[in-house]
């Protein structure tokens, strides 16, 4: 270690590159200089890196299959590809400079068109910023298996291709369409499962096929006949029946895909496996959705620190620094609410601003900061403090804990209260003493995935009658589901379930059923 530091000190003042073009040697030298700063100065803890140089066309490929290097085939990826292709060729939209994959080794894609400054920025951002976050954040640790993801995707791709061969494109497409529609309802939000081991998954699939060959679903075979005495049965007994049933199916169940995989009566083994694949992939991405802002904030903070350090050490020229600042300021730009470019908070901008703000609180706090953040104000350990935060928070809790009054003032945040019964909107709070906590709570809720996404649960199955499946949407604050889409999605559930499905909207506070939506299978009469 000491020799390395010595040699890197010796290199100080020596420019890594002088022109905009890059070759593999400069790329390697630049990487080494960045790594030296990331490991020895910031003391980041990262997976081994694999930097892959790709063309813009390959970037488009990767883009369309949700950023993964390999993915099973589905028309929706083709749709994304043709759309991005048109947008890119017409110049309406640039391509991402990089894509990074939460795997071990951590794979970052960089485009060959990038200048060397951009490559340096991208490596600092992805190969160290995101990489550190992936390896250390508790959500990723709990939910994802970085070791196994690529092997698992390989398996998924092969498995689905095999199903297409055996059962036809249409049959597989039907299951995938339905599964994709339920992908967001395919994770366990409140109780996290055992950390998945994807290598075990592969083995398990084989066992399931064997098991299903050997047995049949006892649950459905032994359906009790509806008994006439139903009406006479006293209240208590009936309730007990319901409880029994719920216990039998493990209800209520928030993971719709899991429920269907385990309990849908007429699905084939391969259809269940496809549901499981989509569920596993959905779960792999779940932490990314919950930490988007922090993850980008962390990566931006890291690249900013590294590029500045490179400049301070004399490894990059002033010109290169200007170029970097140009890219950087475009990435962390936040439009104001009345700007035509405004489309919500930019996770890069908010994330970077918060990280920089925490840095400031640690190093140079004001009295206000000392009052609000007694634990960290003036501790003079900005990177350690940030690393602690990166490891133990997600967007929602991070904002709730760390958003400072100063940042709220700087970004001039204000909170709108929108009651549908009222003819106008009301400014509920602004960036002042009365408002700080309200604004902060509201912003945190906006980043809470369980608030953003509807609260859906399987609540009951009528096993004694027509096998109707009951799904409940718990309506908070009268916010309904997008109706047309819900109807289509309900159709998909019905298709997997094979019998009627009822979607009930229930008020969160009163528990009263507000409205219902039904799906009846077309072939009910004939079956």
């Amino acid at each position: 270690m000491s020799t390395k530091t010595k040699s890197s000190e010796a290199d100080n003042g020596k420019l890594l590159f002088t022109s905009a073009d890059w070759d593999f040697e400069t790329l390697k030298a630049t990487y080494d200089a960045i790594e030296d700063i990331a490991i020895n100065e910031l003391k980041l803890d990262v997976y081994p890196n694999q930097v892959e140089v790709i063309t813009s066309e390959q970037m488009l490929d990767a883009y369309s299959s949700i950023g993964m290097p390999l993915m099973y085939h589905h028309w929706s990826f083709g749709k994304r590809f043709v759309r991005d292709d048109v947008m890119y060729r017409k110049g309406y939209q640039g391509l991402a400079y990089e894509i990074v994959i939460n795997s071990n080794p951590c794979i970052s894609y960089v485009m060959e068109e990038n200048t060397i400054v951009m490559q340096a920025l991208v490596m600092a951002h992805a190969a160290f910023g995101h990489n550190h976050f992936f390896k250390n954040n508790y959500l990723f640790k709990q939910w994802t298996d970085a070791e196994g993801i690529l092997d698992y995707l390989q398996f998924a791709k092969g498995y689905i291709a095999k199903c297409e061969d055996r059962y036809g494109f249409d049959a597989v497409e039907r299951v995938l369409d339905a599964a994709h529609a339920l992908m967001e309802q395919g994770v366990n939000r409140y109780s996290h499962p055992e950390k998945p081991n994807l290598a075990v998954e592969l083995e398990r699939e084989r066992e399931r096929a064997k098991y299903e060959d050997e047995t049949y679903n006892d649950l459905w075979r032994t359906l009790p006949q509806p008994d006439q005495g139903d009406q006479d049965m006293d209240e208590l007994k009936r309730k007990m029946r319901i409880e029994e049933r719920r216990a039998q199916f493990g209800l209520p169940e928030e993971n719709l895909l899991y429920f269907l995989e385990k309990n849908a009566p007429s699905l084939q083994a391969w259809e269940r496996e496809i549901l499981r694949i989509v569920r596993n992939i959905g779960q792999y991405f779940y932490p990314q959705k919950q930490t988007k802002m922090m993850n980008e904030g962390c990566a931006c903070y890291v690249h900013y620190a590294i590029m500045n350090s490179l400049y301070d050490r004399g490894r990059i020229s002033e010109g290169a620094m200007m170029e970097f600042i140009d890219y950087h300021s475009r990435v962390v730009f936040q439009a104001e609410y009345d700007d035509p470019r405004y489309s919500g908070f930019n996770p890069y901008a908010l994330g970077f601003a918060m990280m920089q703000d925490i840095h400031r609180i640690c190093v140079d706090p004001t009295d206000e900061d000392r009052k609000w953040f007694p634990d960290i104000a003036g501790n003079n350990e900005p990177v350690e403090t940030l690393k602690e935060a990166w490891a133990h928070y997600r967007d929602e809790s991070f904002i709730l804990q760390f958003l400072s009054p100063k940042l709220m003032r700087d970004m001039r945040m204000f909170m709108i209260d929108d009651q549908s019964t009222s003819p106008h909107l009301e400014v509920a709070a602004i960036h002042d003493d009365n408002g700080y906590r309200k604004v902060r709570r509201s912003l945190a809720r906006m980043h809470d995935i369980s608030v953003r996404e509807p609260d859906m649960q399987v609540v009951d199955v009528d096993i004694r009658g027509n096998r109707q499946l009951y799904i409940q949407h718990t309506e908070h604050e009268g916010i309904r589901l997008e109706k047309a889409e819900a109807q289509m999605t309900l159709g998909y559930i019905g298709q997997l379930w094979g019998y009627g499905v009822t979607l009930q909207a229930v008020d969160y506070e009163t528990g009263e059923i507000l409205h219902e939506m039904n799906y009846t299978p077309e072939d009910l009469a004939t079956s």
């Binding site: 997976y47 790709i54 488009l60 048109v86 369409d177 908070f345 589901l481």
Partner: protein, 447 residues
């Protein structure tokens, strides 16, 4: 300590999304087909060969899910960039009620209903174009192929594969270089060695084993020369990489001739839009076919009622004329254009005539003689397609009815192999005409 691998993936096969694209095309097939048909309608005959951007409704490609509705209920949210608001201010709801976008609070999935625009490749476009023409696969393949090439000699180059090494050129360069750099020849070296050997032999013969002063000097001189010669030989190679020359070949498009295609059509009131659409399909296919076979294809449009005129494509398909129908006027016009612009020895001439079969009753004989004497001898192929309404076609079939033009042409077709006659009621009927065209041209193509 983390390790780094830098991997160059640029050489990896691209088109990883091809499978996805194909699945997407399958999914949206009905919409794409409709969009392609619209494009064909609006497109010129001659630009069928490029791919095209098409737009299909986004609705069919919807990927639904359970999402919150964009409006309604009680919600609160934070915005950046406050300028003048204080707590308790009331803001008018962004205008638009239930129709317009909600200002800053536009729903995130608002673009879901937009039309979906993308570009078809040329092959995809042609596949869909061919679809209801019921072409056999072999023909589809040959139509989609671009020009064939043949290798022709094109001088010499300094780079190439060893198999193409031009020995004569290489040796010539080698020789020139060796002379230029004064590389000693092997024979010269041998001569030197012989002389040295002779002198040394002479020395051995002498009693003291030593040469005379003069001979001694010349021996030293010769030894020095030999050493120098050997050094030069070593330094200047017999064949140097700069000597090598390779035969170079160039890809020459083949065949390389020109054709003109005449489109003749009756545009009188009795031709409906659908009939013209069918005719257009036929002309397009013919053009595609000719384009494939000939480097350069010109198209001449002649329309007629009771008078005929050469017009541009737009007018040909889309403007209406009134009046009777005298087919011979069109044939006269074609004869005139042929004489003026397309001499028979320089052009391959193709003609396609589309009509509903009406003709002025006394005109039949004139048409026949024009065709038989002036036009058919010059044409590679002359196709007449008679377009009839599907319902009418049934009546005709029952009544054995024949149109005026058909009656006039039928005898001519029976003994002239370059003349084809077909009745077309739907797109699928078009191809048989081409089958004949292909079969014939295999044997008597004039390149």
């Amino acid at each position: 300590m983390p390790m780094l691998y830098i991997v160059d993936r640029r050489k990896n096969p691209t088109g990883k999304s091809l499978g996805n694209r194909q699945r997407f095309m399958r999914r949206a097939k009905a919409q794409i087909k409709k969009a392609v048909e619209d494009t064909i309608r609006s497109r010129g005959i001659t630009d069928i060969t490029s791919g095209d951007q098409i737009t299909i409704p986004g609705k069919t490609l919807k990927e639904p899910g359970f999402h919150h509705a964009g409006r309604g209920g009680n919600r609160n949210y934070v915005l950046p960039g406050n300028k003048k608001f204080v707590q308790g201010d009331r803001i008018a709801r962004p205008q638009g009620g239930d129709a317009g976008a909600g200002g800053s609070q536009a729903s995130p999935d608002g673009d879901g209903e937009d039309d979906f625009q993308f570009t078809l490749t040329r092959d995809e476009f042609l596949d869909i174009f061919f679809e209801d023409l019921e072409l056999p696969d072999l023909l589809k393949k040959s139509l989609k192929q671009t020009t064939a090439f043949r290798n022709a000699r094109a001088g010499f180059s300094v780079e190439g594969t060893p198999a193409n090494l031009s020995l004569v050129r290489t040796m010539r360069n080698s020789l020139a270089r060796r002379i230029g750099l004064r590389r000693p020849k092997t024979t010269e070296v041998r001569e030197l060695e012989e002389k040295i050997a002779a002198l040394q032999a002479k020395a051995e013969k002498r009693p003291n084993g030593k040469l005379t002063k003069a001979d001694e000097d010349s021996l030293h001189g010769l030894l020095a020369d030999l050493e120098e010669a050997k050094r030069r030989m070593k330094a200047i190679p017999f064949i140097d990489p700069i000597d090598t020359r390779y035969n170079q070949f160039q890809q020459i498009p083949d065949p390389n001739t020109q054709a003109v295609m005449f489109c003749l059509m009756d545009v009188s009131g009795s031709m409906s839009e659908q009939m013209k659409e069918l005719a257009k399909r036929f002309f397009m296919l013919l053009h595609l076919f000719l384009h494939r076979r000939y480097e350069h294809v010109e198209v001449v449009f002649i329309r007629h009622t009771s008078r005929a005129a050469e017009v541009d494509e737009e007018t040909f398909f889309y403007s209406r004329e009134t009046g009777g129908t005298i087919v011979s006027t069109a044939l006269e016009e074609m004869k005139k254009v042929l004489k003026d612009r397309y001499p028979n020895d320089q052009w391959n001439i193709y003609a396609a005539q589309a009509s509903d079969g009406d003709n002025y009753s006394n005109d039949g004989a004139k048409c026949t003689s024009l065709l038989a004497e002036d036009l058919l001898p010059k044409c590679q192929y002359y196709a007449y397609i008679e377009i009839t309404d599907e319902r009418e076609a049934e009546i005709f079939a029952a009544a054995e009815g024949e149109t005026a033009l058909w009656k006039a042409y039928a005898p001519l077709a029976s003994h002239n192999p370059r003349f084809a006659l077909k009745r077309v009621t739907k797109a699928a009927d078009i191809f048989p005409v081409f089958r004949e065209l292909f079969a014939k041209n295999r044997t008597e193509a004039r390149l």
